[in-house]
Symmetry: C2
């Protein structure tokens, strides 16, 4: 600074220069790489626990304690030692998704290098909203939008797409557009007093974020109309047709039909082509939540499951699910480009520059709920550019195959009940040992919950639970490609053992 | 797999094992650290350009080309070489926020190690929504919530806070709660036909995401009532009082008053204590967007600016602004804990487990718009645990000092016009060389836009623009702590030079 600087400012600057020191970054980064390498080796070999279970109270106290005891020194060596200790703490208290015994939520163990590509964005803070703040992050994102859209068979000039921070926000963004399109003037005037309340028509198993969107958007969750399911828990198309006819005749504005590819509880893929026919006939917006299932399009073997997805007016497709990159990287697509501009009818003068005509198309903040946005597509772009798209197809095929294999094992075990034929890598089931003969549905359900908690807190396996047909069930997503049949056998054994422990309590 | 595996499955597994190879992760990570270290050295020394300007078309084509040319080989050495090339491409096409000549948006050059801590979360995918998926990420986040709340002087048991993906979403989340609290039954029934439309009362310079929230929530942007500003562009408290009285007497439900700490265009801090008095008197929800300014609470010298912030019903405070961590890490606070549960009135049975009573308080997905959430607080927790809170106070003090210094330089330059006395590190101004004497306001504004574009595309400096008092202005955020007075002198010179070039065109 060219002003006479006080001593205080000088010592401040010294501390800041140290925090921003490139050599410190490099040394710490090398240590991090080594620590991550060792950690991944251990975790993939099933050494240690899948989930490092500890109570929130204990973990929060530990995190606070560490935060309260920063290094006082300005010695880089001491700082690096402390850095290593902190990284070690993070890794030893976390959840090991890379352990092949992780068979939990629809959250993958990411391709590790995706996390490194992501770190380039974090360390250098490549953000979006306006193109000029993140020219490369915007471009990488749009290049990946284009790559994925090719699997939808769309023509480049017609559609629009961008990345959001998760499918809940992407679904909200899509339904906001559908609302604004269905109800003229609602953006400016709000939801006034229409003759009949506007409704959202949804598959009964849609993710909770869809009903939430109705609540957020002012439509009201009681105006979410659920369409029944067929015997594979797919949307019943005849009932959809009847429902739309009835709603139209009653004069309800219909915001959208929401279908799934696939649903959360059991991974059911709706018959999208038939649904698209019905929506077209009734002239209703079709939104498809393909957060999990969109990625089947990359697999020759499985892409038939999402047939008709390309006919959706809007769709959500998470790369941080079945494209195996770290959260969050959710793609939102609009089949007709101009719809992507219908979410918001305003501008921010300091963001969007009239002296650069044409550039606003690349200022994605005009269209996303977020203003500042991370360079969320760096991970996907990086691994795609490194390994090519076949890797993603492989990952889909292998995990789908694991779903089929696990179902076979369940079907072959008299003390297990598979609750459905799997359409993908999500499988719901129950453990019903002979001791539970004659137990009520409620008692059986409580038993599933209890054995699950016992197993996950032991760190032996991580699986989740769901509620299906009025009862509690166990649920796995076979989303770790390094899981094998042997691990699945052990899972059944671990559940049996937990069951015996529960029954003897 | 214990099933007879096809050859195809075997070759698939080989490719997957390579992608997940710990040795590959370690080697690539070490190369990344070295590349980042070299990059930061060059950037801090102002070698090369601040913004690597290229057209979207060129950048997208380049990104797509790289994505189309993955390595066919399964040789780890070739993969690492390709990885290095890709990282190099990312760094050489990006925006160099760590260059001291970056004086742009309210997006900092992050403390580099924050990005490394963040990478621990990315590589291992520590996500939230439910505690059991991210026990350590949830705990780290809540530990930091508690650390920041101490600066608000709040009692631990009273309040609630969590991290969201950016202030736009945090503001939306807060106003959703305010809406649900103000309008009983709106979540379920939607916005029906109240006697008078509900309104949102806001500081005139609030960020565009506030009006957007009104649009999203179904209130309608035309029901956003702007309160006038005083001569320092702070909310006029008398006018606020009159406005609330009028709206009440007219029978409008008032969702909330939105104040700023600080505003976006010029960084004005509203008189929060007085505003809180008025809101209390009228029993109206007070929301404060303290995305930028919340961090002044860590500085003894500057915390007076946010006096009264602790009286807000809800407030947003971005760590990815003035706490110098990478985007996104926005804290949302509710003064009364129970309000944090008012956003959504539903549950997802497969997420929230009744057999673990008390745990739901740590299942943050019950309260955030996001379902899956990144471990967004790893960066802040890491640098806090490494350097301690004094570093953040230092960073606030140094950048505030730069704001004051830049204003002095403007005031001392006859060809520059500072548009306000800075309250923080945001400064708006105009360059008005003698040649512009007699130019219209519109011509003067156009000139600011043009010289800015010339300067940013040259890569010499990065600054932004805004619209103020009906005219275009230049705007800087002095948010790089390594910027010095000398750089600021050069900025004025660069603008002068661009001005001369513009005038001679």
């Amino acid at each position: 600074m060219d002003q006479p600087a006080s001593d205080r400012l000088e010592s401040i600057h010294e501390r800041i220069r140290l925090a921003y020191d490139p050599a410190l970054l490099q040394t710490a980064g090398e240590k991090l790489a080594q620590e991550l390498g060792r950690h991944l080796t251990r975790v993939q070999a099933c050494e240690g626990r899948v989930l490092n279970w500890a109570s929130p109270q204990d973990n929060i106290a530990r995190a606070a304690h560490l935060a309260d005891n920063a290094v006082e020194s300005t010695d880089p060596t001491e700082l690096v030692t402390r850095f290593e200790k902190l990284v070690h703490e993070m890794l030893s208290h976390g959840h090991n998704l890379h352990d092949p015994r992780y068979v939990g939520h629809q959250v993958p163990p990411p391709i590790p290098l995706a996390g490194l590509f992501d770190a380039v964005g974090s360390v250098t803070n490549q953000v979006m909203a306006v193109y000029e703040m993140g020219p490369w992050s915007t471009s990488v994102e749009l290049a990946m939008v284009s790559k994925l859209a090719q699997y939808l068979g769309w023509t480049e000039s017609d559609y629009a797409g961008f990345v959001t921070h998760g499918a809940s926000i992407a679904n909200l963004n899509a339904l906001l557009v559908a609302r604004n399109v269905a109800l003229k003037g609602v953006w400016e005037s709000g939801l006034g007093a229409p003759t009949k309340p506007p409704v959202l028509v949804v598959q009964s198993d849609t993710h909770y974020c869809i009903a939430r969107s109705a609540g957020i958007l002012g439509l009201g969750t009681s105006h979410v109309i659920k369409v029944g399911l067929d015997d594979r828990r797919r949307m019943d198309v005849t009932e959809l047709d009847q429902t739309l006819t009835r709603l139209r005749s009653e004069g309800h504005p219909i915001i959208a039909v929401v279908a799934c590819a696939c649903s959360t509880p059991i991974g059911a893929f709706d018959p999208l082509d038939e649904i698209a026919d019905v929506c077209q006939q009734h002239q209703v917006w079709l939104h498809v939540d393909a957060a999990h299932g969109g990625s089947v399009l990359l697999s020759e073997q499985h892409r038939h499951l999402a047939k008709g997805l390309e006919r959706a007016d809007s769709l959500v497709w998470d790369a941080h699910k079945m494209l195996f990159v770290p959260a969050l990287c959710a793609f939102l697509f609009f089949r007709q480009k101009q719809h992507s501009y219908e979410a918001f009818h305003q501008d921010a003068p300091y963001l969007f520059d009239p002296t650069a005509p044409g550039l606003a198309e690349y200022d994605l903040g005009l269209r996303t709920v977020e203003c500042t946005k991370r360079s969320a597509a760096y991970g996907l772009w990086g691994v795609w550019s490194l390994f090519g798209p076949q890797l993603f197809a492989d990952l889909v095929d292998v995990t789908m195959e694991l779903g089929r294999l696990f179902h076979e094992k369940l079907a072959a075990s008299p003390d297990f009940e598979p609750l459905h034929e799997p359409q993908c890598n999500i499988v719901a089931f129950r453990h019903l040992p002979p001791e539970l003969d004659g137990a009520t549905l409620e008692e059986q359900g409580e038993f599933q919950r209890r054995i699950r908690r016992m197993v996950i807190e032991s760190g032996e396996f991580y699986l989740v639970a769901t509620r299906l047909n009025g009862t509690e069930a166990l649920r796995v997503t076979l989303i770790n490609p390094l899981t094998t049949g042997k691990h699945l056998d052990h899972l059944l054994d671990a559940l049996r053992q937990a069951g015996r422990a529960c029954l003897s309590l």
